[in-house]
Symmetry: C2
Subunit: 219 residues, 2 copies
Amino acid sequence: MADMKLYDAMRTLRAVRRLRPDPIPEDVLKRIFEAATWAPNGGNRQPWRMIAVRDTAVKKRMGELYTAHWAPYAANYARGLAKMSEDEAAKHRRTIAAGDYLAAHMYEAPVLVVVCFNPAWLAVTDAQQDRVSVVGGGSVYPAVENLLLAARSEGLGCVLTTLLCAEEPEIKQLLGIPAEWGTAAMIPLGYPLGQGHGPISRKPVGELFFNGRWGAPYP
Amino acid sequence: MADMKLYDAMRTLRAVRRLRPDPIPEDVLKRIFEAATWAPNGGNRQPWRMIAVRDTAVKKRMGELYTAHWAPYAANYARGLAKMSEDEAAKHRRTIAAGDYLAAHMYEAPVLVVVCFNPAWLAVTDAQQDRVSVVGGGSVYPAVENLLLAARSEGLGCVLTTLLCAEEPEIKQLLGIPAEWGTAAMIPLGYPLGQGHGPISRKPVGELFFNGRWGAPYP
């Protein structure tokens, strides 16, 4: 389990939101964290830092802040199900139920990983475009994806969340994050309560890739 | 080679900027692209599309646009070397030379992958923070990292670039990208001219991870 084949890890990396409170052995955690350090990033500045949170009181507060944003998000999500087929809606209801579980049990995850980044260390090449900027994330989320893939390979459940970024000022205060740093993600890590990772549902290559120019069918 | 172990792929994923013009077999490309589709993303909306560019004239124009931004970037980068030790500076000079090569030979890469995203499909939870936003990238760059890792596993050189985002209006016109979409990255793919992937230089876990709160040594 600890060192899967690349494609097997990728094609079974699900969002696992129900986690057991059992501790994660230090050597396992170390391998997962090292995988994050290997990620590509602009100018090899590695403009991110991650904090492994294990204190129950801190995790409880993070769970409360998360719930405050999850609850209205989930309610809005649920309203959208009315337009779906029953099969489709049932799938999304399971996702919402898993999200509810995660929000309510956040403190039980043995480790919450908070991902920080330094805006001053980023080359934000899309800063002048008339739309939301994303390019700074190009030096942060490859490390997050490495961490998730490594967790999956080690048999640990995990999910990439960003709701707590809306509570950045309090998260920074709670964890002593310096003023000049921002937060980009929070990843709960723990052994799965249920079946954990497995098949995922994604669009096929033909819907996501174009050949030569926008709209031209691939391949 | 085609299906490496996860950790081996990650720890040897270098930026490979010198690429041979030899074509990439369709089945290889298909596996790499499929790996991108598996990536986690917010609400499973998969808010990205990628365009595989192979037309020489289009690649030449992209190379010109890239060079216009690379040249001043490299000059600024080179000025920073004066403050470094000779060993350190030599390493960075090799990176700059490889970047010069990539800019001048962009059209020789058999495939240039242009990554697009739809801002309207993103939940940008850090939009209200008083700093550059990165969270939108959380639904885009995990797919990019999957693509890079798969390319590495297939023996293809690749590098994550974002300089062309500064030329987004012309890139969109060149490739027929709809007004409401943005561009997040461009990845040249091709078999390595030299040794290709191999050992990387990154900070250790102890410099990038904290235990419980900012600044507390991990582990």
